[in-house]
């Protein structure tokens, strides 16, 4: 399974764009990249998933360069309610479980 590395924590002011980069150097051809968000004492919530280039939804954008060895989650104009832990995961095709690291603890400051 591809190992992921992401910053332990980040701070941001309200209204700013936040970019969290995750490295996954040994990603395999069939692997997808997915990001989850988790608030305290709640289960993780799916944010976005991609394979290559750029994916955008109503919550975030995901940028994946051509070599796919890293990915960047972009949160536009964060608010205090975006304070959470963000997990970057890489998983194989087929029936494989999600492997979570420690994630990035994002703190949004007023």
């Amino acid at each position: 399974l591809a190992k992921t590395t992401q910053p332990i924590s980040m701070d941001s002011y309200e209204g700013q764009e936040v970019n969290i980069t995750c490295s996954h150097n040994n990603i395999a051809t069939n692997d997808y990249i997915t990001w989850y968000q988790q608030f305290p004492s709640q289960g993780p919530r799916f944010i976005i998933q991609g394979y290559k280039t750029k994916v955008t939804n109503e919550v975030a954008s995901l940028f994946i360069p051509a070599d796919r060895k890293s990915s960047t989650l972009s949160l536009p104009r964060v608010s205090l309610s975006d304070t959470a832990v963000y997990y970057c995961l890489v998983y194989h095709s087929g029936n494989t479980p999600l492997v979570f690291g420690k994630g990035t603890r994002l703190s949004v400051i007023a």
Binding site: S41, G43, R45, F46, Q49, F100
Partner: protein, 114 residues
């Protein structure tokens, strides 16, 4: 749609006891996975059930066992509880056996072992 539901919300047990946690998957989902999340850590995969059988298992001892019922709901059983079993236990469900489908997590059961 109620999403993934888990019961109970909180539970306090003592060492050596046994516990059963329950999960109802999101409507239309047939695959259920269980995760253990210790304080300050990411969720760790325990096992996955599909078609009432354990399909995948993480690095957890046999004290952790599970079951999936014909209605796709699931139970997690932990025997001979240890202090280190104190954690948030999360259930996640998805449709079908391919992992490309988004997993939906429940709110978790907070287990405290004294």
């Amino acid at each position: 749609d109620a999403g993934v539901t888990q019961s109970p919300t909180h539970l306090i047990k003592t060492r050596g006891q046994q516990v059963t946690l329950r999960c109802s998957p999101k409507s239309g989902h047939d695959t259920v996975s269980w995760y253990q999340q210790a304080l300050g850590q990411g969720p760790q995969f325990i096992f996955q059930y599909y078609e009432e059988e354990e399909r995948q298992r993480g690095n957890f001892p046999d004290r952790f066992s599970g079951h999936q019922f014909p209605n796709y709901s699931s139970e997690l059983n932990v025997n001979a509880l240890l202090l280190g079993d104190s954690a948030l236990y999360l259930c996640a469900s998805r449709e079908g056996s391919t992992s490309y489908n988004e997993q939906f997590f429940g709110p978790g059961t907070r287990l405290t072992v004294l």
